[in-house]
Symmetry: C2
Subunit: 319 residues, 2 copies
């Protein structure tokens, strides 16, 4: 219910963001237009635009630049979803089939490129280069995170520290930049911008951890995507790292073996064991710690009602 | 030999461009650094940076912004090569194996994204948004061209007009922007900027046509890439469009059939027939016409020696 209040509060601005998003991607080639419409079905809560707008409201007033930056962050996010679905060979995403499932990997690769390109095109319509520069620095980092994640696939000795480094780059960095830029565009002090960046980074870390947990024990419909892909793709996430860490040597070897040779029976057995050994609980607890740090970072001097919403939004990540 | 003179003339500036390129892509993750180094082996004549610099010299002086823009255009080009190699399942590119061949499609997809991202990051270090905005508009267009090309794969009724539209978007648009931005950064008049844009666009059209011819009858070593992929991927190029156009109905049906079911014998038979029916000659002649238009577009008022080089560079595309 808290989350509904947050989205009500920014409903009108989010509508404006959607308009900008759609206008930017208008295309005179019908076949391409159809693919872009399909991507529209992947849209979820628009967390990144919501954070740009909330950070703006918390620090001052929402301006036209906020809506543009918000649309840019959503476009970048969509691009990563399109390419992620290629990497994960995923077939469904929210209310639609993935682009790779419908049109093949090749079209999905180029369509993802097109979303990145339009994101920067839209961003460079702003007067200042600041957002372009920060968004591009962030997408550099996101790509590093994705490449690291790929590099460490099937590496069962991955430490929690390395895992945190990867999700920091691939997920938290963009969410942090959303908050920073939202505050900056409202002409907040550099201290407040950085405080909100810290909020966003920590919320983003928790968000990815919870997303990884959902991939193990969530419900496909609620998550809006094919689950279990992390295990199948040998992508190490926090619960698995925890399990391997608490196991004795011999048991660890057994699980490493089982993680490698996978069928759906193995998958269920691994998930059962993760719950039994408290690995899901551990990951949830760690996510909770990041949410606490996020909430502590929000300056007490921000507008009261919006400040509360930022705190609520962070809490909602744990649900 | 003419071409050597051109590259001698801008050798020092090109060295500067290479430095900026490499500095922008420095990465603290060793595995990623290795992949970036591998992409360095794909570097060819650096046509796009050369055009930025030449256009600049022809209209005034080469400034730091020229080197940055030049590096950006090369980075965008490299990104398209990395993703093209995924789409074409190519194994070799100039002096190295492709990223997809070495590290898989997934790494190649993300590494291509990383090059696009760094291109915009570098571009947004300039004072003005103008280059960012134009480059992004151009990459939007490049993606459209690539998507159209994909959409029309195996469509043997493709007209010459549609083919020209596709190569205009996927290749000529970026080369046109290189010339426009090179002139603009040298503070040329808008008329001169646009004249050079026209030069670049026409040169780019011819360049893609010759590239398509090379894919049919070139030598793999000189071309620096796996040849014959266009036919194998059912990508329609001008010689094939010509052949199907001059055939009688029954012969056309036979070739359309043969274009669909392909082995290396079919391939040789098609190439032989393209030569016999003058389809290669026709495509070459059309490329020659674009080069002529390119050369006519170069303003007579530009600096004499650089003007000559722009004309020579255009001529060299036909060799």
């Amino acid at each position: 219910m808290q989350l509904l209040k947050v989205y009500d509060f920014i409903a009108q601005e989010l509508e404006g963001v959607r308009d900008i998003f759609e206008r930017e991607l208008l295309c005179d080639v019908p076949a391409i237009g159809d693919m872009i419409d399909q991507v529209g079905k992947f849209r979820g809560k628009m967390l990144r635009p919501a954070l740009v707008l909330l950070a703006g409201k918390a620090c001052g007033k929402v301006k036209p630049a906020h809506r543009i930056i918000a649309a840019v962050t959503e476009m970048v996010h969509m691009a990563t979803l399109i390419h992620d679905d290629v990497l994960d060979e995923a077939e469904h995403r929210r209310r639609g089939r993935t682009i790779n499932a419908l049109h093949g990997n090749e079209a999905a690769v180029i369509l993802g490129d097109m979303f990145i390109s339009h994101a920067f095109h839209l961003c460079s319509s702003l007067d200042s280069q600041l957002a372009s520069r920060l968004i591009a620095a962030t997408t550099n980092t996101v790509c590093e995170g994705e490449l690291m994640q790929l590099y460490y696939r099937g590496f069962y000795e991955l430490t929690e520290e390395k895992y945190l480094d990867i999700i920091s780059r691939k997920t938290a960095s963009l969410i942090a930049s959303c908050c920073y830029l939202g505050a900056k565009a409202a002409e907040a002090t550099e201290a407040d911008c950085q405080a909100l960046e810290t909020y966003g980074w920590n919320a983003g870390m928790a968000f990815q951890m919870m997303d990884d947990i959902t991939d193990l024990i969530g419900e496909e419909e609620a998550a809006g995507k094919t689950l279990g892909t992390d295990l199948l793709k040998e992508k190490m996430t926090l619960p698995v790292i925890h399990l391997l860490g608490v196991c004795e040597k011999r048991e660890r070897a057994k699980w490493q073996q089982r993680l490698r040779v996978q069928n759906s029976d193995d998958l269920q057995r691994i998930i059962h064991r993760l719950q039994e050994r408290g690995s899901i609980t551990y990951a949830r607890r760690r996510a909770g710690e990041f949410i606490q740090t996020a909430q502590q970072a929000v300056p007490k001097t921000l507008k009261h009602d919006t400040r509360e919403m930022l705190l609520d939004l962070a809490s909602s990540i744990l649900d």
